[in-house]
Each structure stands twice: as structure tokens, then as C-alpha cells.
């Protein structure tokens, strides 16, 4: 940087200064460095989950590039002549052959395949956890709604990348996965068959789909993903990070470590740690053993055929739909056993995408929020989140219904029927339980803030009575407990014409649902008052 302080100049620092100045005079980069370098990162572990996603994506890009050097998506038919004995002489596509060669004949190829696949699983998992963190701390509120939607798009893109990726080797498992997607497409009324023929270039499976998925997987989707990711980062810098409340941490500032030099070093180290974890897992644990699955052939289906975990909820939704839901109208069949799960899946995703706008409308809150909520301080939102997680988790679990049946000695029917019931009952229970737990925790916080915590020290008074001494919190601790915004339900107000519209009523009812049960944080007066009386 050109702003150097007056210190005795060594030869090294003179060179650095000159080089920096040379660059700055030609690129004006110092402005950007100054701006970016002072980006503040709060130090709470849950704020690093998005970074994990970013770093696994870098690992995916690196390992994926290696894989493209050797993988050939061609559907030309060949006979296997490679190293793996139980496949020798077997009829297969070049795509599958080259995936096997990549695994058995390219030096480090199998490791890179496993790195790529494990990193992909970690990528989507860390995105999921990052989204949950943002949701439960209310970090999606104004001004970050747009970035929530961008993040959601990234999540969907990551799933699409995953699906197109694991379909490429043209093995039995991935072919079965494609067949399910084909079935879902064909289940759509009117357009379904057209879309299916368009995607597969004719009747399933054909020879078009693998090269097409390859183009999507290595070109189109990554390009969109990178652009969206860049946008996500830019908005992250523009909006700044949220932070948990604390003394000196307000809605107007961000307390933490600037990116340069400290955080950048830490983040660099963190990248290598994530890389290391992925490498270790990929070294020691098999993933997607395509040599077991054999080449794709539309006739066999293996027991225990499941998609990768992030597509599991879709597979589970299909498994949970009862049989015999086909309706025949005017010679057409409406397969509701497929349509209803698809509607549920799309519905769930849409609700996730637009949740910030829904909540903003219900609460009528137009203020900017830079303080992350503790989940207990937004009981209704936390409860909605828990219900959503339960709904997702039941569908997710349903994808492994057969494995649960064999490993826990249950009947398939028992597992499916239980999960069918849980799909509806589970979210309701989760909602009620979570809300009560949140309110209970809030009450406990209020109690502790006002009266301190029980010290376990029992004192006998001169009169003979026993009391337990309560220790007071220090100011820092108390700050954490009492600083949250207290919302009240919206009032029904007539509009400009003096009328109360139905929308107004609905909004007020929803707002009441959101904020009716609440624990008011203790006021300053209450705390002072409690303090005066607290000295036993």
C-alpha cells in the first residue's frame, strides 16, 4: 500500500513499498484493499459455516478440473478391458469405462474422485447448516432479504450440480436416479412427456442425456454458481455481518476482526483445515463405489437405491405418497402419487425462499436489523423453523426407509406408516415444543437478569429462617440476556378510506399469532429495582 509510515527502511520493505506503489498507480487497487481489508468478521463459530461452504466449493473446483482431464461423457458402447476383474469383458458406455479408468488406472484418480464427491456432500451440508444459522438468528431480515434469496438460489444450484454430477458415471445407481427424475417429469400433466423427450433426446435413457448433463455440470451450472456466489459475497460486504448483542455491540456497528491482516491469515488456515478434513475422509472412506454398481442397464435395480443425501428429501417424499392415487379423467391419467409429493417439495422450497418477505409483512417491521437474534428471543420464528426442519427431516428419513427396516429389525410398512403420520404430526409437535422451550428459556433469562442465579449457598438468618443467596450477574452477562427487541402484535388500523380490509385483518391475526406469547425483557428500572432489593 502506498500509505507507509516513517520507519527505518530495510531493503525488503523498500521493495514492498515500491511494488505496491507501482501496482496502485496503475490499478488504483488501494481503494479496494482499504475497503475490503477493513471488512469486519465477528468471532462466533456459527458465522464460519458459510466459509466452510465456500472452501469446499474451491476444493470441488480443483478436484473437478482434474477429473475433466480424464472423464469422457461419450455414450459409445465398448467392452471393458481395464484392471477391475469383476467387470472384464462387460458391455458398457465410454462414460462408465472412463470413470472406471479414472478410478483404477489414473494415478491419484480415485482419490480425486472421492475428494470431489465428499467435498460435494460437505458443500451442500454446510450450505444447509449456514442457512439454518441465518434463519434461526433472524439474519435474513432487512437489509439482507435479497442475499437470503441469492443464498437460496445457491442452495438449489448446489443440489442441481450434485445431481448432474453423480449421474455422469453412467453406473447402475445413477441411471436409476435418472429414471426416477424421468418418471417425475412424465408425471406432469400435458407437458411432462414433452419435457422428458426434450431432456433425454427421445425415449429414456437414450444416448443424449449424459453428454448434456456433462455440459450442464461443468459449464453452465458452475458459471451461474460462481456469478451468484460473487453476488452473495458482494452483498455480504455491502450489508456487513450481523453480530450477537453485547456491550459495545449495537445495531449501528460491527465488532470483530478486520479481514487484513489477522482474519485473512486465519481464514487461509481455515481453508487448509477444511481441505485437510476432506482429504482425510476421501483417503480413508469409499464414496460412490461405481465398480460395485456396474454399468447402467434399465432392467436391474439394486436394493437400497438412494440418491445422495441432499436429494434424499425428494426421494422420501415419493416413498411417502400412498399407492393408488392415480385418477383417470377423459382418458388421461393424473398420477397424484407423484404430483402431490412434487407440489409439497416445490411448496417447501418456495416458502424457504420467500420467508423473509412473509415475516416482514406479518411483523410490519421495516427497520434495519444488524443484531442477530438469539433463537429463544424469537419463539414463533424458531418454532416455525423447527417445524420446517422436522418436515424436511421426515421426508429425508423416508428415503432410507428400507435401510431403517433392515437395520432396526422393523417392517417396511411400519416405517413408512409411522413416517407418513410423522410428516403431519411431527411439525406440529415440534412447533409447540420449541415455542414452549423458547418461552421457558426467556423466562429463565428474565429471572436471572433480575434476581441473579442461585449460588447454592444457604444462609440462616438471625430469626431462624433460611435463605439461599443469589449471585448477581456481571454487566456483560446481563447485557446479553436483556438486550432484545420486544415486539407487540400489530393493531388493526383502518386504511386511508377509513375501512378495515380483509388483508388488514389477516395480517393482524398473523401478527397476533407471531407475538401473542412473549416474554418482555426486563426494563432498566426493573433491573435497578431488583438490585436494590437483591442485597440480602
Amino acid at each position: 500500500m502506498s500509505t507507509s509510515t516513517v520507519t527505518p527502511q530495510t531493503r525488503g520493505s523498500r521493495f514492498t513499498a515500491a511494488a505496491a506503489n507501482y501496482l496502485d498507480e496503475r490499478t488504483s487497487i488501494s481503494g479496494a484493499v482499504k475497503e475490503l481489508g477493513r471488512k469486519i468478521f465477528p468471532d462466533h463459530w456459527s458465522f464460519m459455516l458459510g466459509e466452510v461452504a465456500l472452501y469446499s466449493f474451491v476444493v470441488i473446483l480443483l478436484s473437478g478440473t482434474f477429473l475433466t482431464f480424464f472423464f469422457d461423457p461419450s455414450m459409445t458402447e465398448v467392452y471393458y478391458d481395464g484392471e477391475y476383474m469383476p467387470l472384464s469383458g462387460i458391455h458398457m458406455s465410454v462414460a462408465y469405462h472412463s470413470s472406471l479408468d479414472l478410478s483404477f488406472e489414473v494415478r491419484g484418480g480415485l482419490l480425486m474422485r472421492q475428494v470431489h464427491h465428499w467435498a460435494a456432500l460437505l458443500f451442500v451440508a454446510s450450505i444447509g447448516l449456514h442457512m439454518l444459522r441465518v434463519f434461526f438468528t433472524g439474519a435474513f431480515r432487512k437489509p439482507r432479504e435479497i442475499n437470503w434469496v441469492i443464498g437460496f438460489v445457491l442452495f438449489v444450484l448446489a443440489m442441481a450440480e450434485g445431481f448432474t454430477g453423480y449421474s455422469l458415471p453412467d453406473d447402475l445407481l445413477s441411471g436409476n436416479g435418472l429414471r426416477i427424475i424421468d418418471g417425475m417429469l412424465k408425471g406432469l400433466p400435458v407437458v411432462g412427456v414433452w419435457i422428458s423427450y426434450f431432456l433425454f433426446g427421445g425415449e429414456f435413457p437414450g444416448v443424449e442425456v449424459i453428454p448434456r448433463l456433462y455440459v450442464l455440470h461443468i459449464m453452465l451450472l458452475p458459471a451461474i454458481l460462481i456469478v451468484t456466489l460473487a453476488l452473495h459475497m458482494v452483498l455480504l460486504i455491502v450489508n456487513k455481518h450481523t453480530q450477537f448483542a453485547g456491550p459495545g455491540r449495537t445495531n449501528e456497528n460491527v465488532v470483530g476482526v478486520p479481514i487484513l491482516p489477522h482474519f485473512a491469515a486465519k481464514a487461509g488456515g481455515f481453508f487448509f483445515l477444511v481441505f485437510g478434513v476432506i482429504m482425510l475422509i476421501a483417503t480413508f472412506f469409499t464414496i460412490n463405489p461405481i465398480w460395485n454398481y456396474g454399468p447402467y442397464d434399465p432392467s436391474p435395480v439394486s436394493a437400497g437405491t438412494q440418491p445422495d443425501w441432499y436429494i434424499g428429501f425428494a426421494d422420501g417424499a415419493l416413498r411417502l405418497a400412498p399407492p393408488n392415487w392415480d385418477v383417470h379423467v377423459f382418458g388421461y391419467t393424473l398420477p397424484f402419487g407423484i404430483l402431490v409429493p412434487m407440489i409439497a417439495l416445490v411448496g417447501l422450497l418456495v416458502v424457504v425462499a420467500i420467508y423473509p418477505f412473509l415475516e416482514a409483512w406479518i411483523t410490519g417491521d421495516k427497520r434495519e436489523h444488524h443484531i442477530a437474534d438469539r433463537p429463544r428471543n424469537a419463539p414463533t420464528r424458531t418454532a416455525i423453523g423447527a417445524a420446517g426442519v422436522t418436515f424436511y427431516a421426515v421426508m429425508w428419513a423416508a428415503a432410507s426407509s428400507d435401510i431403517m427396516a433392515t437395520h432396526f429389525m422393523l417392517t417396511m410398512e411400519g416405517v413408512i406408516h409411522t413416517l407418513q403420520a410423522l410428516l403431519f404430526v411431527g411439525p406440529v409437535i415440534a412447533y409447540i415444543v420449541t415455542k414452549r422451550i423458547c418461552l421457558g428459556l426467556q423466562k429463565k433469562d428474565r429471572e436471572i437478569a433480575l434476581h441473579g442465579f442461585e449460588s447454592g449457598r444457604i444462609v440462616r438468618m438471625p430469626g431462624g429462617a433460611y435463605i439461599e443467596v443469589h449471585e448477581q450477574l456481571d454487566e456483560y452477562e446481563r447485557w446479553r440476556l436483556v438486550s432484545y427487541t420486544d415486539y407487540a402484535p400489530l393493531m388493526i388500523r383502518p386504511n386511508a378510506k377509513g375501512r378495515i380490509t380483509a388483508t388488514q385483518r389477516a395480517r393482524a391475526a398473523l401478527s397476533r399469532w407471531f407475538f401473542e406469547d412473549r416474554i418482555v425483557p426486563p426494563t432498566k428500572g426493573e433491573i435497578e429495582h431488583a438490585k436494590e432489593h437483591g442485597h440480602h
Binding site: 468471532d43 462387460i90 472412506f285
Partner: protein, 243 residues
């Protein structure tokens, strides 16, 4: 009795092509021991004359292979009446199992215990793998990890199952398994399938630990629990305040 034995023995010898060459005569003392064992351990449910009772099916036509499979894998005698008989520690010595099998075959001929030549596990594993994917994988999973059937029944995992038991299962169709007779899968095909399963048993995955060969479910659980767990432990460590 002797007439029954000789006709039964001859039928057993010609009944299964796989054992057409096997002409080892079964001694009378073996049959006697088998009869005693049967009366003590099997007759309660299967009837003294193998005719079956309300508690168990008739054994007419089962032959030696079925007995060797059911008793030799510990499935019989059954511990309790469940959705299907489970593999458990074998209750008899090998001689006792063979004696029981010989006795049952002598009264009720059927598929015989397979010839050694089909059990070596050194034939065409690639053909075996393909046949396995087409005929077996829908219940037993491509890697032989097992799978669920309806009403609590299941196709058991095939790891560590003795070759003769695999062969016997194919020819007799125990529990819910269909019969793969010699018209369907020739003895050579069966030998190839055994070779493939032997290969899977003998060779660990080139990619590292297999996680039970359960596919994406095991992989997903692993990344969530251990992968993400390790990464979160690192984030907590990185943001920990120095005390």
C-alpha cells in the same frame, strides 16, 4: 425301508444335475443318527414322517441341500416364530448336519448338496457379477449388503456366507427367496455368482472403508456426523477466546 432308501437314493443321485457324479453311498449308521437327530430336534414342528404340522411345513421334496442350508446356517431349529428364520450360531456339528440332510433326503428326495467343483470361487466373476445384478441385486443389493422386503421380511447380507450355502439357497429358495433352478441359472452360472461374491468378500474396497456398502445413506450420515462435526469442531477452536 430298504426299498425306499434305494429308490430315494437313486432319485437323489439323478435328481440334481449338479450332483450327478456324486455317488458316495450314505451309510446306514449315518441315516440312523440323522433319524435320531430329526426326531429330537425337528419332528415337533415338521412331523415325525416329515408330513408337517400346524407349526411347520411339510418337508416333502426338500432334499439334502435345503436341510444343509437351513440347519447349516443356524436358521433351523428356529428360535422363535418371526417374519422369517434368522441366521444364528449353528446348533449342530458338521457331521450332524450332514447326517440330518442325508436322512431327510433318504425319505424325501430333492436337490442335493452341491458338488465341490462349483464352489471354488475361481470362475468368471464378471459374468457372475452381471448375473448377480440382474437376478439377485434387487433384494440383496449390488454389493450383497442385503435389503428389506415386505412385512418385516428381508434379504440377508451375503458377506461371509459359505459358497455351498449360497448355492443351496439358489436351488432351494429358502424363506422368501425364489428358486433359481438349473434351467434358469446353469450350475456354471451359479458358480460364477459364487465367484463374484467370493471376490467381493476377499477384496476390500479400493477406495477405503466401505461404510457397510450401504451407499448414499451411509455416506450422507457420515458427512453430517463426522465431516461436518470435524469442521464445526475446527470453527469452535478457531473462534475460541484465549483464556
Amino acid at each position: 425301508m430298504i426299498g425306499l432308501l434305494s429308490t430315494g437314493g437313486a432319485y437323489a443321485a439323478f435328481g440334481a444335475t449338479a450332483t450327478a457324479d456324486e455317488t458316495t453311498a450314505v451309510s446306514q449308521s449315518t441315516l440312523d443318527e440323522g433319524e435320531k437327530l430329526f426326531a429330537a430336534n425337528c419332528a415337533t414342528c415338521h412331523g415325525a414322517a416329515l408330513e408337517g404340522t400346524e407349526a411347520g411345513p411339510s418337508l416333502h421334496g426338500v432334499g439334502a441341500a435345503s436341510v444343509d442350508f437351513q440347519v447349516g446356517t443356524g436358521r433351523m431349529p428356529m428360535a422363535f416364530d418371526g417374519a422369517q428364520a434368522e441366521r444364528k450360531p449353528v446348533q449342530f456339528t458338521d457331521e450332524q448336519v450332514k447326517a440330518l440332510a442325508a436322512y431327510v433326503a433318504s425319505i424325501s428326495p430333492g436337490p442335493a448338496i452341491p458338488d465341490e467343483e462349483y464352489l471354488q470361487g475361481d470362475t468368471d466373476a464378471a459374468n457372475g457379477a452381471e448375473l448377480f445384478r440382474i437376478n439377485c441385486a434387487m433384494c440383496h443389493n449390488v454389493a450383497g449388503a442385503g435389503g428389506a422386503l415386505t412385512e418385516g421380511k428381508f434379504a440377508p447380507p451375503l458377506g461371509g456366507v459359505a459358497p455351498e450355502h449360497i448355492y443351496e439357497a439358489m436351488v432351494t429358495g429358502p424363506q422368501n427367496m425364489p428358486v433359481f433352478n438349473d434351467m434358469n441359472l446353469s450350475p456354471a452360472d451359479k458358480a460364477d455368482i459364487i465367484s463374484y461374491l467370493t471376490y467381493v468378500d476377499d477384496n476390500s474396497s479400493p477406495g477405503g472403508f466401505e461404510l457397510g456398502s450401504l451407499g448414499p445413506v451411509a455416506e450422507g450420515l457420515f458427512i453430517w456426523i463426522f465431516g461436518l462435526g470435524a469442521v464445526i469442531a475446527i470453527t469452535v477452536w478457531l473462534t475460541a477466546k484465549a483464556n
